[in-house]
Amino acid sequence: MNINATPMNVSEMNDRELARAELTIARKYTDRFSWFMAIWWALNLTCWLSLWPLTLMGLLPLWAAFTIALFNVMLCYLPSHEAQHSNFAKSGDRLRWLNELIGYTSTIPMVLPFKIARLTHMEHHTHTNDPELDPDFGIKADNWVQAILTTIKRRQPGQPNSYGLTLAQLGDNPVVKRAGLEGLIQTLAFWVILSAFAWSGYAIEVALIWWLPRYVGTTYIGLMLSWAPHHPMTEQGRYRNTRYFKATFGNVVAMGMEHHIVHHLHPGIPLNWNGVAFEEMRPILEARGCRMEAF
C-alpha cells in the first residue's frame, strides 16, 4: 500500500524538482515505527533461544534444530540493521532503549557486535563501493558463486578483518574504543560459551545450533545484503552505487534487498516500506539513471 501516490511527469522536471519529489515520497515513510521489524526481532530471537532447552532436553531432533537455527541466523541481521540506523527510536527518544536492545540482541545468533556493526555500516553508506574505505567491498566478485567462495576465503585465519581495519581507520576516539572493547568481549564470550558447552558434552548440539548456522547464515547474509544489491561494485555516487534488482527467486528469499537502493537513498525508511517507496519513486529513479537489473 502506498500513501497518497500522485502521478508525476518526471521528464519535465529539473534536478531540484526531482530531488524535491523524491524527498516528498521518502518523508511519507521515514521515521515510522516499524512494528513489523520489531515483531520480527522478538519472534526470531525467542525462537533461536528456545532451541537451546528444547534441543538439550532432547525434545527437538538435531536436524530440526539446525534447520531452524540456520533460518534464525539468516533472519537475525535485518532488525539490527534498522537499529543501526536508529529507525526504531532516535537518540533521546522515549523508546531509545528498545532501539538499542534490538540492536544488541538481534545479532546474538550471528555474533555481530552492535556498536561495531553500526560504525562499520555507516562507513559502508558513506563510502559505498570505495575499494579502500567501504568495509563491505571485500565481497566483490564476478558472480554469486565467486561471492560465496570469496566470503569463505575472507574468513580464513590469515586474512585481514575488514571491520577491524575500518575501526583502525576511524582512529583512536572513545566511541571506536568502546565499540572495539564491546566487540572483543562479545566475541570472546561466544568462544568461551562454545567451548564450555562442548566440554560439558554438548559439542554436537552447540555446533548445530550456533557454530555451523552462524557460518552458513552469515555467508548467505553477505551474499544477499552486500553482494547482490551492489554488484558489480564498480560505481560510486548516490544513484549508481546500489541497484534495484529483480530476484528470480523472489524478494523474500532476497530478504527484501530488491529495493535496497531506497535504503541507500533514504536509510530512515524501514525495510518493510522500501518496496512501496520504491514503486512510488521508480520514475524518479529511472530519470536519475539508477540501475534496474536482474539477479
Binding site: I152, Q156, P157, G158, G180, L184, A198, A203, I204
Partner: protein, 65 residues
Amino acid sequence: MIHKILTTIGPWGPLLFGVGFLAPLIAQIIERAGATPPLGLAPLMVGLIVGPALGLAAKLRGRWI
C-alpha cells in the same frame, strides 16, 4: 589494550579452537557414531590429537581449507 589482546591471542585462534571446540566435537561424534578408535585410543584422546593438529595446521597454513 584491545589491540594487544588481539595481537596476542588472535594468531593462536585456530589452535585454541582446535583444543577448545574441535577436540570435544570430534570425540562426541565418534561416541555417537559408535565407532571404535584405532590403537585402543579413547574418543577424547583422538579429539585431542586431531583437533589441535587441525588447528595448528590452519595456523601455519593461514587457512582451514
